[in-house]
Symmetry: C2
Amino acid sequence: MSNYKVEKIFPKEVDLNKWYTSVLKAANLISYSLVKGCFFIEPNAIAIWDQIKKHMNASFTKLKAQNVYFPLLIPSSLFLKEKKMLASFQKESYQIDFLNKKKLEFPLYLRPTSEALFMYYFGLKLLRSKNMPIILNQWCSVYRYELNTRPFLRSCEILWQEMHALFATKIKNRQFVKKVLNVYKNFLEKICLLPTIVGKKTNFEKFQGAKSTYTTEVVLSDGKVLQCATSHDFENHFAKIFNLKAFDSFNKTFFPFSSSMGLSTRILGAIILNHGDNNGLKIPSKLAVHKIIIISVISKKEVIDYIKKLKLKLRIFNPICDISKNYFGKKITKAEIEGFPIRIEVGLKEVKNNQISIVTRNDLKRVFLKNDNNIVINLRSILKQFDQSLYIDAQKKQKKFFYKLNSFQEYKKIILEKNIVALVPFCLTIKCEEQIKEETMSTSRCIPLKQEKLLMNQKCFRCQKKAKKYVYFSKSY
Amino acid sequence: MSNYKVEKIFPKEVDLNKWYTSVLKAANLISYSLVKGCFFIEPNAIAIWDQIKKHMNASFTKLKAQNVYFPLLIPSSLFLKEKKMLASFQKESYQIDFLNKKKLEFPLYLRPTSEALFMYYFGLKLLRSKNMPIILNQWCSVYRYELNTRPFLRSCEILWQEMHALFATKIKNRQFVKKVLNVYKNFLEKICLLPTIVGKKTNFEKFQGAKSTYTTEVVLSDGKVLQCATSHDFENHFAKIFNLKAFDSFNKTFFPFSSSMGLSTRILGAIILNHGDNNGLKIPSKLAVHKIIIISVISKKEVIDYIKKLKLKLRIFNPICDISKNYFGKKITKAEIEGFPIRIEVGLKEVKNNQISIVTRNDLKRVFLKNDNNIVINLRSILKQFDQSLYIDAQKKQKKFFYKLNSFQEYKKIILEKNIVALVPFCLTIKCEEQIKEETMSTSRCIPLKQEKLLMNQKCFRCQKKAKKYVYFSKSY
């Protein structure tokens, strides 16, 4: 909605929550519906999400995944078959008990996740190991009833993608899970410009039905950590539960190996919170539909004509133009709130000198550029610098939260005062982690895949028994 | 799923329903879930739907529409405000009565359509006539409980797009509705290659809350007609019901004018039924992700190398290759079932003569083409002919169903025997149409916008009172 009522943004350093809510409103990202935890996702947010879909679909095609769309409604008879993981969703699921005024024998659940459906679907097909793997992906919404909700970070209606794969061997299934983990990591770092923490979940934190869960997490500006994408290796647990059998090359049956991988609109929360400032959003250039906004300083014919030609010349950046007669100041404020990587201003001076005046959204610094044959190359290089600066800024902001600790006393003291991300030697037992959670309200984020070697006889930072791995602990969203 | 169990297709001329079901299965389009009317939409169907989305999004961007995503769940307090249209959905809506074991004061409906939500959303914004129109679109799924379901044609879970617009004047709103109607018509005819019937719905057939409903319909191979896309002009009816007010240029409030426009996966049903034959699908070239499939006749190194080079040369058509060691005959059958517009076969002879052997899916005729510098241009022209032949074939098949009649006796006699589409002079009264439906099980499809002039004193084909317009009547899906 091209609305010129420019909303105020609350200072980020004063109150991050209020800042976040004010940016969501001012940048036309979210409005609140009558149903708690379900939001109106507005054009500027969907535009970024559509770019995310485009990037991910390109990566998924390389993995030979195929897109499908499977039903929202799952009957309880199917859904509750798996007790460890799926049945645990029951209490937070939306369900339909009546249809056509008749009570249903098996209530219908709104999918909180679709493992059961994919298993049922695979069971309809003749599965032969020579035709595996089968890799399917769907972009859909899932439903989980939550009491404490915040747009993107924790909502009851979640837009996401869920990929479900079926392999003939345990090893290939595991390799695939790690491959997709790497796709997520690269996407978060190179496209979203967010440094990540990548690793395996502890037994305490993993999905209960999964053999292993891998995760890509991002430290947000307040030092809390957000789980952005996960990959689950189910080995043949689900195949066994759903009695799914495949034929090997000798025509003998076996239980195939399955995995699921997902990424949601939470990632939008991470982008907004990490890159945004008191002027509004900063959109990574590869996620910006319009990488450039061109604004007229004054409504004169020669200015408008100049802008039209410029728009055509710069079409590779899909520029958007604001040549309205609104106050110049308002137009600038609006462009900054919406986070376009580059803003070009054109007034009479620019027309006269055949140049453009550029303000980059990362530092709001102004440069002038000749409107010559090199303009596209020059702008491309400015965009590259813009992206680099976003990544480096995010790294800098995160750095101060990282600690390496050996003492639980010290950890507890600090984390009760402020949010930190601590790498600690840990015994990996569920019991010890339960205690840590109880005493500090913090949890393990992951066991990083790249491990520093533990000292001989290194003890667990809390229980003092033998440490098994270095693990990240923090507060999380 | 690259499965070489090639399914049989039932003869189309013997039983259209059985043919349809067998094609859905053989071409990997649909599998049946445990919930009636909710289907697994498989890779080959989603691939076409994604192409449809791409084409429509491009058209919608030209209309200055912006994509959003609004909640699935609508509380009854909001949904039932509008009695004429929305409350009529109540009996076919899925609803959630309990949350967290508590009975809800206002049950939550799974959207059967989202007018109420868009009205509520518009109400959150400061609406000024100078900032109108507001044109929003969402790609989502809607839910309508149905007893008689068939994949794509009538399902309980429907994938669609719904566009909702708000205008400051009645005329501009009406113009927009007709503009979008034209977008649908062009899309159906030029991209889907389906001749259409376009017009206004009678008062009997229109959405009850709408002032006017416009429709784009397609005659299917059995002579029944499928409503493919509709555009509703609500004038300011919804604004009044939802007490939605906007400010004009004098700062006076007024009720703005709204409209909604939608197209669903029904269109996939129309494409399959109209173009398909006893060998399977025929996909219009602009909806085919892979416009060409290249098949190896024999697994020899020189053949595979030749195919790899060819694939690169023809990349503009995004060709897919089947160089598996499966039987050549099976590979061909599979390619025909899945409906690729062009199939290229490469064996040793083709390599030796530096040529390709082409079979076009419309007529299964074979031609040979030199693999020279003109190959891309030549293939492009073959694709164009392929599309033309699909459209002409569809026209021919439809033609035999069209009648122009003045006598109800004659109409009744014919329509009780076979499916026809009759253009008849009609009085437009609801009462007369009710009677026609009762006596013939057929309904009006639309009042064509381009009208032949009625004779002076032309009488209604049924009641013999004064005829107002020529109207199409038929049986429908």
